[in-house]
């Protein structure tokens, strides 16, 4: 459903078929796992079974003697380099050194002629451990008597982007506070108060393709093929680890079979490079699913929150303290923590806010980015408190939001810093509510809920791109954005084609190769269309300007009079194919036009990015549920999500992104949960880790595309594809609350809902978290 459609464009705004569709459907698309390089060995990783232990000794001699084994890598092989990495905090060794901090941590790695030999060699490695006290939960980690997982001064990573990282406090590795106003004073006379404790489980980003890397170490150059989302950040980290200039690390990124944040930042690349360095040969490592599940995940969370309102439902104060379990190493923990804190107040007007967000080390696998991180953690908590206040005050939840939501232009951050609100949230939530029949009568077991939130999107606004027109008029766009199924190659082609006045069919968009592709910070935070897309637009505009320049010279007219359309330069009845323009420019049947485009925080027409965030991604959903109280089953019957994208470059792709985010939000809310026993992940397979299936989908799903042309990207676009993930769990929880089942822990398994109903029917029992 498209609410507003822009006009006056030829490529932009059209639902072009994905340029990579044919290749992928035919099985011709190449992924890292499909690739082989000459002389390549196969790597397998020996992972610790203990979540916390001292490594007393490792004996690799039997494994090294096995025929077909080229090298066995252990911690002591890295004495000649500084082996610690982490883009936020350098706390993680390439491979365990003297101590393991999570079950699944790499302890040794084998490179061999084939995988079976490598696997057999792992079994021949003897490791003697001495177990250490286990700190497997947030509560244990916060105990003052708990052993410290990390000691010594904090070493900032290359890209934490968070100013002063502060000091560690026990096992709290990072802390972020938001403070404004006097919470105690402002809430003293509140008419309505709600307060509660909430639990969100660790979840996995499940992408079909597991982490896969090929690395070829040479003394002066490292070549890597990797399933990574942010090739340029990995390039810099690898250069830093192995003491090479950035340009001496070459990373090529083929298609990715999904990322969702699991392949953000540096993952298996350092270990693969180190193994190649030991083996003196290229090595390929492809994780199994259970290995990828201990490579990255979403933080589990414990949260306390209190919200107050006055008698007419006007919000007064919000306080929250929460702890995110980052696992053994920080990975993207600090950024997730800060973004979660940004989401905690929600897009409302407050008299006072106090948020205290803490990122805690535990003996579990590291947590990083996952689509809509931070917002997914906090929005369902924050929005369920809003509904509770509305219920207490006897106000319709939608009306409650109309009264309190920020309007465009109002400051979002309670302290007034950063970008003001750049979206029409009231319009968005009203559309979503209408799509699930908000005002229709409903039975006693039916509930409806809405949720509204914002996600600080865009990450750091640094993107470059180049556009190259060959002598035959064909076009290549070179941009660092990783194609992982979200469709950027198609969208970038459309953006370039629009500027050039040609069909996107003649534009090829290449995968990143850091040797040739211009720098782009990352593929994440809904930033690619907005930022990399802007760089592509600028580069294409520069190529268009050169075409006009030459056409002006040929026809001797002012450049404003020259139009580029249908792959031709035109002036009145005069027309020249692009190939002719290039031939005229160079006086030869060769040559090319190649131009760059740039986006940076300051200066030029991109100055508005400096405020941060680049834009506020809208997280709005409405849901209707039906409860079977005898079984505890929740049936999600109708849903609506809003993709408030400013301008949909490709409306179909926007809808698909929105639906994908819905599906994952639905999974996080209803099904998914990493289950640990004494620090060990026990459901490390896709049978017991339950990603929703297509048959689980609601009967009616509506994706509302809103185009108010209020984004900072090309043609007024802003990113999408994360908002629904954060909004959906919140809307489901609120719908369930509306049906009489307030919930404080996810996921909503039938058992949990049933137990909650049991508790509610026995008023004497305490409202314990189950």
């Amino acid at each position: 459903m498209t609410v507003v459609t822009g006009t006056g464009t030829r490529e932009v705004g059209r639902s072009r078929t994905r340029l990579d569709a044919r290749e992928k459907l035919r099985g011709e698309a190449m992924f890292t796992g499909d690739m082989e390089v000459p002389g390549m060995l196969y790597g397998r990783v020996l992972r610790s079974q203990h979540p916390h232990a001292e490594i007393v000794s490792i004996n690799t001699s039997a494994a090294e003697r096995m025929p077909g084994v080229a090298a066995v890598l252990v911690g002591r092989d890295l004495l000649d380099i500084d082996p610690y990495y982490g883009h936020a905090i350098k706390d993680r060794p390439i491979i365990a050194i003297e101590r393991v901090r999570f079950s699944g941590e790499p302890v040794a790695a084998v490179a061999a002629e084939d995988e079976a030999t490598a696997e057999a060699a792992l079994a021949a490695i003897e490791v003697v451990y001495e177990e250490l006290p286990l700190v497997d939960t947030i509560d244990k980690a916060l105990d003052p008597a708990a052993p410290l997982l990390h000691e010594g001064p904090i070493r900032p990573g290359l890209f934490h982007g968070l100013g002063n990282l502060g000091e560690r406090d026990g096992n709290i590795g990072y802390r972020y506070r938001l403070d404004s106003g006097d919470v105690a004073g402002e809430s003293a006379g509140a008419a309505f108060v709600t307060e509660g404790e909430y639990l969100f489980p660790a979840v996995y980003q499940y992408a079909m393709e597991t982490h896969s890397v090929i690395a070829d170490w040479k003394p002066n150059e490292i070549a890597i093929w990797a399933s990574c989302q942010h090739p340029f950040l990995v390039q810099a980290e690898i250069a830093d680890l192995f003491g090479l200039p950035i340009g001496a690390v070459r990373i090529q990124v083929p298609y990715l079979g999904g990322g969702f944040g699991s392949k953000s930042y540096t993952k298996m690349e350092p270990l693969t490079v180190a193994l190649s360095r030991k083996a003196r040969a290229p090595v390929k490592i492809v994780n199994r699913v259970d290995e990828s599940m201990v490579t990255s995940r979403r933080h589990g969370m414990r949260c306390w929150m209190r919200t107050t309102a006055d008698a007419d439902g006007t919000l007064l104060t919000r306080e929250s303290r929460f702890w995110l379990d980052t696992g053994a190493y920080m990975d993207n923990g600090p950024r997730v923590t800060a973004t979660a804190a940004d989401s905690a107040p929600g897009p409302y007007r407050w008299r006072a806010v106090h948020i205290d967000a803490m990122c805690v080390y535990c003996n579990t696998a590291p947590s990083g980015s996952y689509r809509a991180f931070g917002a997914t953690h906090l929005q369902w908590v924050a929005e369920s408190q809003l509904d509770e206040l509305a219920r207490k005050a006897g106000i319709d939840p939608l009306e409650m939001r109309r009264r309190n939501l920020l309007r465009p232009g109002e400051p979002v951050r309670p302290d007034g810093s950063g970008k003001p609100l750049d979206a029409d949230l009231i319009g968005d939530v009203e559309r979503a509510a209408a799509a699930v029949g908000w005002d229709e009568p409903k039975g006693p077991l039916v509930g409806r809920g809405v949720s509204v939130g914002l996600l600080a999107a865009g990450a750091h606004p640094v993107s470059r791109a180049s556009v190259r027109m060959r002598a035959d008029g064909s076009v290549e766009v070179s941009v660092g954005t990783t194609e992982m199924g979200q469709g950027p190659r198609t969208v970038m082609a459309q953006i370039a084609a629009e500027e050039l006045g040609c069909s996107s069919d003649r534009v090829r968009v290449l995968g990143a190769d850091t040797r040739f592709t211009p720098y782009d910070r990352s593929t994440g935070a809904s930033r690619s269309t907005t930022l990399a897309g802007k760089a592509v637009q600028n580069a294409a505009a520069a190529v268009a300007a050169k075409l006009r320049e030459t056409a002006c010279e040929v026809w001797d007219v002012a450049s404003e009079l020259i139009e580029l359309r249908d792959g031709k330069a035109a002036y009145g009845d005069l027309e020249m194919e692009f190939s002719e323009v290039i031939a005229k420019r160079f006086g030869f049947t060769g040559g090319e036009i190649i131009e760059g485009g740039e986006v940076r925080p300051m200066g030029g027409d991109t100055g508005s990015y400096a405020e941060g965030p680049v834009f506020w991604e809208v997280c709005v959903a409405a849901v209707e549920v039906e409860v079977d109280p005898e079984l505890g089953k929740v049936n999600v019957t109708r849903t609506a999500t809003v993709a408030d994208v400013g301008r949909a470059i490709n409306p179909l792709l926007v809808e698909r992104q929105d639906e994908g985010a819905f599906m994952q939000g639905y999974g996080n809310a209803m099904f998914e949960e990493m289950v640990y026993r004494d620090g060990e992940l026990i459901n490390d397979n896709l049978l017991e880790y339950r990603v929703p299936r297509i048959q689980d989908l609601p009967r009616q799903m509506t994706s509302i595309v809103v185009e108010n042309e209020d984004g900072p990207g090309p043609h007024g676009a802003k990113g999408c594809g994360e908002g629904a993930l954060a909004a959906v769990p919140a809307a489901i929880v609120n719908a369930l609350g509306d049906a009489g089942v307030p919930i404080t822990q996810l996921p909503l398994t039938p058992e949990r809902v049933w137990r909650r109903l049991q508790d509610l029917s026995e008023p004497q029992s305490t409202e314990e978290l189950t």
């Binding site: 079976a116 199994r288 005898e630 079984l631 505890g632 089953k633 209803m670 099904f671 289950v675 026990i682 459901n683 017991e688 339950r690 929703p692 299936r693 297509i694 048959q695 689980d696 398994t749 039938p750 058992e751 049933w754 137990r755």
Partner: protein, 292 residues
Amino acid sequence: MQTPASFDYERATSVEGAIASLARLGPEARVIAGGHSLLPMMKLRLAQPEHLIDINDLEAELSYIRDEGGEIAIGALTRHVDLLKSELLAQHFPVFRDAEEVIADPVVRNRGTIGGSLCQADPAEDLSAVCTAVKAKAVIRGTDGQRVVPMDEFHVAPYMTAVNDGELLTEIRLPLFPGAGSAHEKVERRAGDWAIAAASAAVWVDRSTIHDVGIGLSAVGLTTVHLKRAEELLRGKPPSEELFQQAGQVASEDCSPMADGRGPVDYKRHLAGVLTKRALSRATARALKQEA
């Protein structure tokens, strides 16, 4: 481990031949049908057969659903998808379609067989409960001929059946009596998942009394649970919601669930009761043709 240990492989060309091979190779040989249960077990090295006898070419002999007058006969190699689509089964025992709609996904249903399901003897298997409820009999063939065993004797222990080394399950027989109605109820964590608990019920109604009844439960015991005491309670009585409620109560008492990744004991017990009640109620409505 994600790869099976090495094994010899043989494709049977006749039931006779398959049985001869099984007899010759003894306990180290296993039949492979759809492979959806066996292959995962082999990959996890929970099963390490030295010989696999593949019976997938025996569709002509082993894949069918026929009305044999007084009985419906189902070949052991009949796939889930065929059970799902069979109008004959849907007409006499709609419980099969109920179950097949919620068993796994199309990929598994296209290859997995009723024989494999029953022989796997996983207590969470839906079809075992279905077959228990409809009082199915299993036809087992060896070199010395065939024997027919009721479901109670077929599942002897967790993952153990009455099929001995050198034998093959060839057919399932469902006796036909008038006044039949049947239904399957299941709660799972997500679509196509194994049951947290499931209940199958069949009733045979005669002049508005329950002439006979069968109830089988999945995932709430070491093997498929046959609710004999609840059947006893129902037999000869006029059907009513109150009576089904009581039968559900008995189901909760008589099952013996274990906690697993799908649910804890108290919740499974509770579900056994509710699902038994609902399955009986729907089966009866079907017998009385109050529900399509």
